[in-house]
Each structure stands twice: as C-alpha cells, then as structure tokens.
Symmetry: C2
Subunit: 429 residues, 2 copies
Amino acid sequence: MTAEKSLKVALLGCGTVGAQVARILLEDAAALADRSGAALELTGIAVRNTASERDVQLPAELFTTDANSLIDQADVVIELLGGLHPAGDYIARALKRGASVITGNKALIAAQGAQLNQLAAEHGAQLRYEAAVAGAIPILRPIADSLAGDHITKVMGIVNGTTNFILDAMDSTGAAFDDVLAQAQALGYAEADPTADVGGHDAAAKAAILASLAFHTTVSSDQVHTEGITEVSAQDVAAAAEAGYVIKLLAIAEHAEAGVSVRVYPSLIKRSHPLASVRGAFNAVFVEAENAGDLMFYGAGAGGNPTASAVMGDVVAVARQLAAGAGLPNGSADQPVNLLDFEQITTSYWIGLSVKDQPGVLASIAAVFGEHGVSIESMSQHSDADGEGSALRILTHRGAEAALRTTVDAVAALDAVHSVTSVMRVEGN
Amino acid sequence: MTAEKSLKVALLGCGTVGAQVARILLEDAAALADRSGAALELTGIAVRNTASERDVQLPAELFTTDANSLIDQADVVIELLGGLHPAGDYIARALKRGASVITGNKALIAAQGAQLNQLAAEHGAQLRYEAAVAGAIPILRPIADSLAGDHITKVMGIVNGTTNFILDAMDSTGAAFDDVLAQAQALGYAEADPTADVGGHDAAAKAAILASLAFHTTVSSDQVHTEGITEVSAQDVAAAAEAGYVIKLLAIAEHAEAGVSVRVYPSLIKRSHPLASVRGAFNAVFVEAENAGDLMFYGAGAGGNPTASAVMGDVVAVARQLAAGAGLPNGSADQPVNLLDFEQITTSYWIGLSVKDQPGVLASIAAVFGEHGVSIESMSQHSDADGEGSALRILTHRGAEAALRTTVDAVAALDAVHSVTSVMRVEGN
C-alpha cells in the first residue's frame, strides 16, 4: 500500500523511551505507513537543552528547544517528558488545535485525565496513553474496548517493576528490604530516590487510571489509598512463604455493590494465584469481569523498547483514524460512582503478634476478635526468635477494614500482647 | 448519555454462547447504549427449529427460522452458528448489504477470513471475530491494534481448553491419555467425538487466525502443520516432568528471517515458562515482539459467558463506529510472506529411545547425531521398566526439522536401538 496521506509527528522529550520512539519512527517508516494508511513524518524532537539532551544516533536537525512551534505544526504529538509541567500545557495546546496526543505520562493522566479527555472530545482530537500503565502490556485498550460489553468487578495489578523486583528478591533470597533496595539501585531497577516507587505513589497513579477506565468514571491519584512496601520485613516475607503466600504490592480497583474502592498496598496472595508467579521487574494485571471471568495480562512494565512499543501502538491507532478521515467513535460516558472511604472496604487481615508464652493468651485474643465481630480463619503459634514469648500469626475472614483495624488496636492493648509485629491484607482468595 | 441512534441487531444461533449474548443484549441494554452511543435493539434470533432450539428464558417472539429476512433488516449481525455452511453465506449476505458482522466462527475465519475481510472493506462494513480465538481473552485486538507499531516475531498459544485439561490432568495425576479423556468427557470438558480437539484441528484454525493478524498476511488452517496429543503417553509426561518440563499443545506462529511458519503440536516447555502454569481448561497466548518483549494473555478459553463477553466487546466496538457515523480506519495491508515448509522450521527435539544395555551404545548414537550435524544438549539414561535394556532421553540443540527427523530415522535403524519411544519438540527456551 502506498500511503496517500502524510501526518506530521512531533515528539516531546528524548529520554529512554523517546529515543526509541524516534528510532522506530525513522527506521520503520515503511511498515508504519502500511499499517496506518498514512506516512508518519517525524518533524522534530523538543528537548530542554539541545546540547545535553540530543541523542547522537538521531539526526541533529530534528532537535529543537521550541516545543510550541513544533506542536503548532503537528497532526500528532507524542509527549514523553513526564511530570505535570510543562507537559500538561503542551498537551492542552495540542488538543486545542485538534492535534491528537499520545502520552505515557501517568502522573498527568491520573491527575488531569478527565479534563484532558474532555478537551480532546471538544476539539475532535484523540488522546491515548497505553504506555502510562504497565509499559508494553496492552491493558488500557482491552479494558476500555474489549471488555466494553462486560462489567469489570475488580482489577488487581502488579504495576510497579521496582517494588516487584524488591519483593521477589526478598522472597527468593530472604534478604531484608534495605539490602535488596541497595542492590536494586545498583542494578538500575530502583532510582537513587526510590520514594515514588517504594512508597506506592507510582502504583497509585496507575490504579487511578485503571479504575477510571474499568468503571467508566474519574478517579484521581489523590483518591487512592496508598501504602508502600518500606515496612515489609524479611520476617513477614518468610512467614508468608511458610503459609503458602507471597507478598506483592497490588494496585486494586474494585467495584463492589456498596461502591468503588481504589487502593495500593502490599498484600499476601496465594502461591497458586496467577499473580504470584510474576517475577522480577515484570508487571501483570489481573482482571475479574462478570462474564469474562478471570483474565491476566503479563509483560515488561518498563524500559525504553517495551514502553516505546505501547506508544507506537497508540500512534498507529491515531494515524489509522486520521488516515481514514474518520470521525471519532464515542467513548463511554462518565458514570457517577460512589467512591468508598478506605475504612469501608472489605478485606481480610493477616496479623503478626508477639505474645507472652502463658496459658489463656490465645483465648483472650480470640475473645477480642469475637467481640468485634471479626472471625478468624486460621491461627498459628511459634516460639519467638528471641525466646521471650510466642509469635502468633492470625488470618481473618473477610470483614470491613474499620472493624479489622479496631480489632488490631484492641488486641494490641491486651496485657498478654507484647507487640503487633505486622498487619497485612490478603487478596485474591 | 441518551443514545440518539438505534441499531438493529440480528443474532444467528442460540446455543451456549448465543443465549448469553441475547441475555446480555436484553438485560444490559442501558449500559450498552451508554458505552456504544447507540441503543442496541435485538430484532430477532435465527435458529433452524424454533420448537427445539428456543431458549425458554428469552422472549418467544424473538425466534425465527428465517435468517435471511432478519439479516436483510439488520445493522449488525452476530453469527454464532459455527461451521462453514450456512454461516458463511449469511455473513457474506450481511456484509454485501453493508451490515457489520461479529462472529466467533474460527473454522470459517481460518478458511475464508481474507475473502470476508475483503468483502467487508468493499462494502464499508466491519467484521470482527475476537471470540474465535481463546474465548474471553482479548487477544486479536491487542495483536492487530496495540502491537501494530511493533514487529511480532512469535506467538505461542494454549488455545484449546480440552487438550490443556487432558495434558494438565495427565501431568498432575500420572494417568494415561485414554483414561483422562474419558474423565474429561464425563465432566463435559471433551466432546463425545473429541477428534477436532485432541487431533489439534481446533488449535490449527486458531493458529491460522493468529498468524494472519500477527504477520499482516493470510494463513488458512490447511497451511498449518498439525499434530494432536493422542500419542502423548503417561511415560512421556513423567519423563518430561522429571527433566523439569511440562507438555502442552501449542499453536505456534513464528516469523523467522527465512519466513513464516505456523504449526500445532504437543511440545515440552520449561516449568518456569509462563505458559507452563496454565492449568485445567484455561487458555493463554504468549507473544514475543521486537520492542515489547514477552507478553502473555491469560483467561477462560471457552464457555457461554466468557465467549459472550468477547462477542459483546466486538458488538460495542462496531456500534461505537456506527454511532459516530465514522468512516472505518484502515486495517493493515496484506503482506506477502514466505510460508515455510514444515521441514524448514527450526526447533529442538526431545527423543526417547529404548536401547540395548551394552557398551558403546551411547557412542554409536552420538556419532549418528554428529554425522547429521545435530548437536546434543543433554542425554540421560535409565534402566528400562521391563529391565530388558536402557531408556535414553536426548535433548538436542536447535536445528532444522528435516535434519532432526533424518537423524531420528538413522538412530532408529541402529542395531543397538530397540525402538524410538517418543519424539517431541521443545519450545520456549
């Protein structure tokens, strides 16, 4: 096929992903034109500093610091700068001109996705961001399109490679969090400042995007209850392993009868669950839908080439629509949903206690659970490592977060209890 | 959103999947209209015999035996009859009218997909068939759209639930093929006549569809080299397990430098490979792409509700385009590819031999491999169960199918070799 149309493509940013996107646009032009029905002409790459940010393998004349001029001549803008500013202004500028935008900017979409989608619709432009969640894994389009005739009830994702690498290494080597983090930093799997990853904030942005698409609504990242993995100890990991579980940082979006809940926390899942076998820095998203049942999408969650693949899939999709001169199909209308407070969610707790080694302790603890209406699924007792008492592990049945938390506080106040050594939630049962 | 447009939907067939599709169209009309931008009006359900095929939970007045009249008034036709005739005629009739078609008919698409796609394009109609491969799993759209900016190099799918159920049961219980097949039939996982499944023909149709989409070309099921699982013995399964492998029936579409190969056969894969953990009747498709790397899509491969979910995803996609009055985006142009003969593919063999227990046997066998240019990765020897000789297992490095086959023939002709007890290929290394 000879492409009749030509589309001007502006690239903003030339980091790990941007450089690969530029390479693919240049090297693979013929195949992309075949698949899009339009030639894709890379008109320029905007960077802040052409001297320091220019990729020497790409033609020097493509680089510019004038992003606005580039945007103002483009049919398609690919935003790979990251961060809220100036990325958000550039995207808005493009959409207002009717240019279509592809971005991998999870923070921006999680914060302003609804407004940007609205802006795109008003100006007949397309806005796509498959690369914002789970890198190369096609997950947003399957959720938004393939499952559009179904009802998604729950999404559970391992969507942060750094934390999965750390938890997996803790699980397989028995090492402590700090040691594994240092190793991950040395290997390039974790940033020098790892807060966004290990604090769960990166996963929270992705959870917000997943929830918005899965439930046809708008959830922003500040509405996501977020707990990171910094408190997960080698003892927790070992005890979980002994009980047949593995600890994963999960981004969860759930549509229960009472309402929608979106949350990120380290969670125990059974070894037999498909998410349990996601190793290293890989990502996976597990989806439960009323008719489809259980689905899982697995792949590389980060990296220049994988993320560039997701960006290019969006570029071809946008180009196909533009080449066909096609009007845009409707997206789903935004539905009002009842966003639950975190205290209202239903989950089950896995509680570690250090208790006195004396008669009647188990009975007094069990009594507290009973008083709060929380039922115990299993209880196991071992001698404490220091020999001063017993280590107790309690797995509850499902109950309201608020009741579970109150129960833990009441148990902690018992004379027979030295300390609460860990509290973690269990998912996927 | 109040849907302004209304689309007439004709359903052909009311079996397990059709009945669920009708139920969803009726029960979920409001949500579907919201998501599509058009009301979806089920105008009728065509069956061969309204007395015997009518689903009593659906309104009697919807049922008709006059499929053609239904088709001639429809905007959207959902074909769930299966088989080539009359399904193919109905679909062609609909497309020629410009009506869009959704089908789950893998046999028809694998045989006539190119012609039907052509017909759809000529008449400005849409043809979608996500449900034809791997039931509920969104796999065709990710391959055709999400990965359109990448180059897929290999697709390996567990796409037949019956054979995966059988092989998984053989692996976990040690039972023989015949016994597990009988059990699968009793449980409803296998048909009374299981030929299409255990012979690999169902998987071959799906392999043809996957290859066509992944490589932007046309492959029909008669071009797929197909071997079933009827020869897989309990001994094979046990020996594979001992060596750290599991046997799966794989549908493989590969784009190597020399050309494209599409094939179905039982294959050993390492226990650590993501496909190895696909249990029971579940399906999964593993995709390797140049930039995206390794991806896997996992879920229910059959059943009324899961398959209906895939059908309804296509229905909403079609309706969105129609509601927006949008022209159709271009698909990829068909690329000519060099379809390799099966003898030209590259794979590695896992060979079971029963040999005489005498000095020099290993040397004579190894010499035959050397003469044929096939190198051995590993060799292990055990006493035969009947004590009359040794059982030898040889894993080769990758080589051409033709060379591997010739080598096996030459080894079989050696005096020291009683028999070749099994030959199986190894994938995913």
